[in-house]
Structure formats: C-alpha cells, structure tokens
C-alpha cells in the first residue's frame, strides 16, 4: 500500500487514538499525538511517534481547543488530521478550520457533515431521499411549551435528542408530560457541555426496537458502498455496550434494502469517507432512519473482522484522494464478530463511573481475540473524559462460536483498581435471550431488573479462603511459602530510589 500522507495528527485520546496510531504505523505514516495535562502518561502518548501538550485537563481547554490543535498540527508538520470519534469528530467548524490551515481533515467534507451530522437537517435529507423515518420534529424545539406541543402531537413516549449529539449524550426518554421539563433541562445541559450546542429535538419513541446501523464508505471519485450492518441493541443509558456483525435479524434481502437506503442518503449530500447510518428496526423488520454519524464508529472493529477491511486505513486512503478500488460486489461477510465495551463503570451501581488507577491488568488473547485498549497496567483513568478503557472483539465462524469465544475472553480479562462492565458483559453472554438473538434496546434494562446484583455465591468459600490467606500474610507470617523459589518479580527489580516516592 502506498502512503497517502507522511505525517498525521490524531486529535483524540484513549483507545481510538491508539487504534489510529497503529494504522499509521502499519502504513509507514508518522503519528502525532496531542494530550492534556491529565494524559501525559496515557497510552496514546507513549505509543505515538510524536506527542505535544495541548493544555489543562478539561476538554474545552485541550481536546476541544480547535485553535491549539491546528497550531500543533502545523508546527509538527502534519499533513492531515484524524479526529477519531467524539470530541471534534463531528464538528464541521473544526473540519473547515483544518482545511483553511492547509490540513486534510480525515472525514467527510464540512458541507456533508452539516447536512447529515445535524440531526434535524439529516431528517430532512432522509425525507427527500425516501428513507423511512420515525415521526418527530425536523427542527430543534425552542421553548418548553414548544417541546410540549410537539410531544403531544407525536404522542408519548418521546425522546429528546441533542441536534449535534452522538454517543448517547444529551438524550432523554420522556414517558409523560410531567417528566418533560426536567428532562429538557438535563438534555440541553448535557448537549451544551458535550457538543458546545444545546439544541434539542423531539422524536417518537419506539417500544422494543432494535438498533441496527449500516457502515458506508465513499471515495472522492463518487463510489459509495456499504459494508453491511451492525447490531447495536444492547445499550445502557442509550449508550452501546455490545455490538455484533452481522445482526441476527438481518438476512441478505434486508441487508441489501438497508444498505441501499444508506448509500442513497449519503450519496445525495456528496458524502466522502466512512460514515454510519443508524436505524431503528421494529419487530416486523421495518427500519426507520434514526441518525447519521459522520465519522468512524466506536464499534467499527466488528465490521472489520467480518469483511476483512481495515476501516481506519480506508479512511486515510480516501482522505488522500485514492479510489476505493473495489465495488459493492466485492464486499463479502465471513463468520461472526462481537464487540464488548469495557467501561470503567460499576454496572451494579447504575453505571457509576469508576475512575482511578489500573493497578493490575491481564488482557485476554489467543485465537481470534482482539483487544483494542487505551490503557496499560499502571495507567490512570482520569475523571475528565469518557470511561471507555477498552474494546474486546472476537470473531468466530458462527454466532454461537463467537459468543463462546467472547465468554472465554471475558473470563480471562482482569482489571484491578477500577470497577468495569466485565461482570455484566459476562452475564449478557450467558443470557438465554442474548444467546437466542432475541434482543432489543430494552434488553439490558430488563436483564438488570431481573438480576440480583450480588455475586451468585458459587465461589464464596474460595473467596473466604483467599481473604483468610491475605489476612495471614498481612499479619506478617513471613515464613509462609506463598512464594515460589524464584525471587519476586517486581520486588527484585525494585531498588531504593528507583521506585517512585509515595
């Protein structure tokens, strides 16, 4: 593969920055990381070829600081900027600022971003191209009264949605008029702090729908194709937790219809680069346009493992002006991939974020297991950013094999120091409805309601034994042979003055 750029700045952090650095390295492209003061020792800083400080920890002063990022890109000699997802990835003003500074923005043209990234504009575009849609307002609502009128017209339950949003932020479900005022306030406040725009619109809320999305790729020569669907119905707080490709619900005919609708929509606005068209699907396999994400998706790896296409490399190639070099007929889907998102959150305390230091980490490996992580043993999970620490992705020849492999990999995953979603993900993999492919966006709430949050108690005695031995050690019984004949791994390399001061 030839190299479209010599140097790329990655305007992001965490696992996605690491993912992009890896693609750059494989393409022979120099990678430039940026970081906030909280991230000096973050994995993306350690892994990049170059790294520059942006500013203080709050995103507004670092990862959202457009001017600083562009100044750093120019000073480093970068030719292009990859925004990852989140932060500035769907900010058309940032894309424009890159272009004005002579940098290639690795993403769609600003006009296409505006046409599809703004959710109300996207709904108008979908309407124009006969893409089926969920009833709702096509413009942001102004006053609380206006919102209440719209909601009454559509009929409760309704969703309040940030016009510039994504990633589950600025979203609120409202089941009755009494809940509307406070939900509107919270959605606006979240939208404002996450996206710098507090516009909110109203949409009909479908009961028990599936969330299924289509990955599209478009090059600058006008070729637009899709790479099939992802099933993303397992969500908590409207944020995805488990994704798979293909979807257990989608057959070839449905994939073709959904894919064509997605391509129609993005082609209409001159879309270039990777993008995702999200649909809600009801039990009768009717699909409704939900929104467009004009960027790389968190869950892109499941599509990669099933199609064999490296989406980040495709993004870079397309941004460099290359043609895709293949068409819709060349895209094939082999086997089944599942992704589990490992968040530093306590799933049994209402997904409370669990920042801190990862003092112990064992990652799963072996056949067809992929760990896209943004941390390492000793790394901090700062309080300032999203709590996604890693994505675990597996491939198998069929769905059952993929689920069994994911269960195996999750059992190997150990994170000490912060709480994670791993125990919950293990329960999902073992849940009869999930195993049978009977999922909807309500799956997780239902499962959590039905489940006892405590440990099942199978290993109660073993836990007591381990704790008693730890107590025995702590009591200073140093004659105990809880040690092998070889010297302690860490201790033997720790000398006075070598380790950090406490």
């Amino acid at each position: 593969m030839k190299t479209p750029f010599r140097k790329i700045l990655i305007a992001n952090r965490g696992e996605i920055a690491v993912r992009i650095i890896r693609a750059c390295r494989e393409l022979g492209i120099t990678s430039v990381a940026v970081f906030s003061e909280a991230d000096r020792e973050a994995l993306h800083v350690l892994m990049a070829d170059e790294a520059y400080l942006l500013g203080p920890p709050p995103a507004a002063e670092s990862y959202l600081a457009i001017e600083k990022i562009i100044r750093t890109a120019k000073a480093s000699g970068a030719e292009a900027v990859h925004p990852g997802y989140g932060f500035l990835a769907e900010n058309a003003a940032f894309a424009e600022a890159c272009i004005q500074a002579g940098l290639v923005f690795i993403g769609p043209p600003p006009a296409a971003m505006r046409a599809l990234g703004d959710k109300t504009a996207a709904r108008r575009a979908a309407l124009a191209k006969n893409v089926p849609m969920v009833p709702g307002t096509t413009e942001p609502v102004g006053s609380e009264d206006e919102a209440a009128r719209a909601a009454r017209e559509i009929g409760y339950p309704v969703m309040l949605k940030a016009a510039m949003g994504g990633g589950g932020k600025g979203l609120r479900l409202v089941r009755s008029e009494g809940e509307l005022a406070s939900a509107l306030r919270m959605a606006r406040s979240e939208a404002g702090s996450a996206f710098g725009d507090s516009s909110v619109y109203v949409e009909k809320y479908l009961e028990e729908p599936r969330h299924i999305e289509i990955q599209v790729l478009a090059d600058s020569q006008g070729t637009t194709i899709h790479l099939g669907e992802r099933e993303c119905s397992i969500q908590r707080r409207h944020q995805k937790l488990v994704e798979e490709c293909p979807s257990p619900m989608v057959d070839d005919a449905m994939r073709k219809r959904m894919g064509e609708a997605a391509c129609r929509l993005v082609a209409a606005v001159g879309y270039v680069n990777a993008g995702t068209v999200e649909f809600l699907v009801d039990r009768q396999k009717n699909f409704f346009f939900l929104e467009m994400n004009t960027r790389l998706q968190v869950e892109h790896p499941v599509t990669e493992l099933v199609t064999g296409r490296d989406l980040v490399k495709e993004q870079i190639r397309i941004a460099g002006g290359e043609t895709l070099g293949y068409g819709q007929a060349d895209v094939t889907w082999t086997g089944w991939a599942i992704e589990c998102r490992i968040y530093a959150e306590d799933p049994y305390r209402n997904f409370m974020p669990s920042p801190g230091t990862i003092i112990g980490l064992r990652t799963p490996a072996g056949p067809w297991v992929r760990d896209d992580s943004g941390v390492y043993e000793g790394a901090a999970v700062p309080i300032f950013y999203d709590s996604l620490i890693s994505k675990l992705i597996v491939w198998g020849p069929d769905r059952a094999a993929a689920i069994a492999r994911m269960a195996r990999a999750l059992a190997e995953y150990k994170v000490v120091g912060v709480r994670t979603t791993i125990p919950l993900l293990q329960h999902i993999m073992a849940h009869p409805d999930f195993v049978a492919g009977r999922v909807s966006t309500h799956f997780l709430d239902g499962m959590l309601r039905a489940e006892r949050p405590e440990a099942e108690g199978r290993h109660r005695t073993v836990a007591l034994i381990a704790a008693a031995l730890a107590g025995y050690e702590r009591a200073g019984r140093t004659t105990l042979p809880l040690t092998s004949s070889r010297p302690s791994a860490w201790k033997s390399s720790a000398r006075p003055g070598w380790s950090r001061p406490r």
Partner: protein
C-alpha cells in the same frame, strides 16, 4: 491463626494453619487443604482438591475485595482477638438515616431537595456530573433532609458528605 471473616453482614471464624508448604483453612465445619501461591502481586493461585482457582485480592478501606471467576466479594478479615475486643465495645452505628457521600470527584449540577423536606426511597436528591455524564442520586430510606452541605456548581471529592437524611 484464627480470624474473624465478615462477608454479607455475616461473621465467621476462619482458621489458617500451615504445614509442608500447604495450608489448611477451616471455615466453620468445612476444612480445605490449599496449595497456595502468589504468582504476581494480589493474584492468588489456589489449588483446592485439584481445582485451579485464581483469586484477585485487593485491599480497600480495610476490606479485601476478592474476585474469583467473575464473582466479586467484599470481605473483612480481622484477627479473632481484635474482632472480639472491637465488637464487645458495641455494634457498629446502625441507624435508619442516609448519609450521601460523593463516590468520585465531580461537580454538583443540581440539588433536588431542601432542608426539612420529607423524602421516601427513590426520591431524587442531587445530580452530580462526573466523567461527562450526569448522575442522579436518590434516597435509599424514608426520612427528613437534615443537612445539605453542597451547592450547585461546587466541585466535590470522593468521601465528601453531600446530604444527610435522618
């Protein structure tokens, strides 16, 4: 050596004896012969009757957090004599109220109650922003709001008392 091990509000006596590089751990009537190793810090490899267990043990606020095969336990282990002395002094303060403390650093973005207000379980008390998400804290008991120690916009640290309900 004898310990008092507390798990899920239940305290049991546990005895650990050591012979020939192995351990005998007695919990109530149950005796386990354990081949135990510590291959890395905080990671116990236990062979008990041929079954291989790996237990991650982490100490937090005087409790051991023990993870075994995806199950998590929170266990307090005290030397038996110490436990007897401590518990003879009276049971731990257990009353009907709720003292809401901050579980992590964050910013208060909303207070939903006022001092003197009666609350019932599930009532919203306060909204805190942390890690870019807003988290609502709710009452776990019925009672009256006695104190509100924070105000909107204030930054809080873990352990800070936010609201006291009696």
């Amino acid at each position: 050596m004898r310990f008092a091990a507390t798990l899920d509000d239940r305290t049991q006596m546990v005895e650990v004896t050591e012979a020939n590089g192995r351990f005998r751990v007695t919990i109530g009537e149950e005796v386990s012969e354990v081949d135990a190793r510590l291959p890395a810090q905080g990671i116990y490899s236990l062979l008990i009757g041929g079954i291989s267990y790996v237990a991650d043990v982490k100490e937090e606020d005087g409790w051991f957090l023990v993870d075994v095969n995806g199950e998590s336990y929170r266990i307090r282990v005290e030397e038996e004599t110490r436990h007897i002395i401590r518990t003879r002094g009276g049971v731990e303060a257990g009353h009907g109220g709720q003292v809401l403390t901050a579980p992590m650093p964050g910013k208060i973005v909303g207070v939903e109650v006022t001092v003197g207000q009666a609350v019932k379980p599930g009532d919203g008390l306060l909204i805190m922003e942390a890690m870019k998400m807003e988290n609502e804290f709710r009452a776990t008991t019925a009672g009256t709001v006695r104190e509100i120690r924070v105000q909107v916009g204030q930054a809080v640290n873990p352990g800070d008392v936010l609201i006291v309900i009696e």
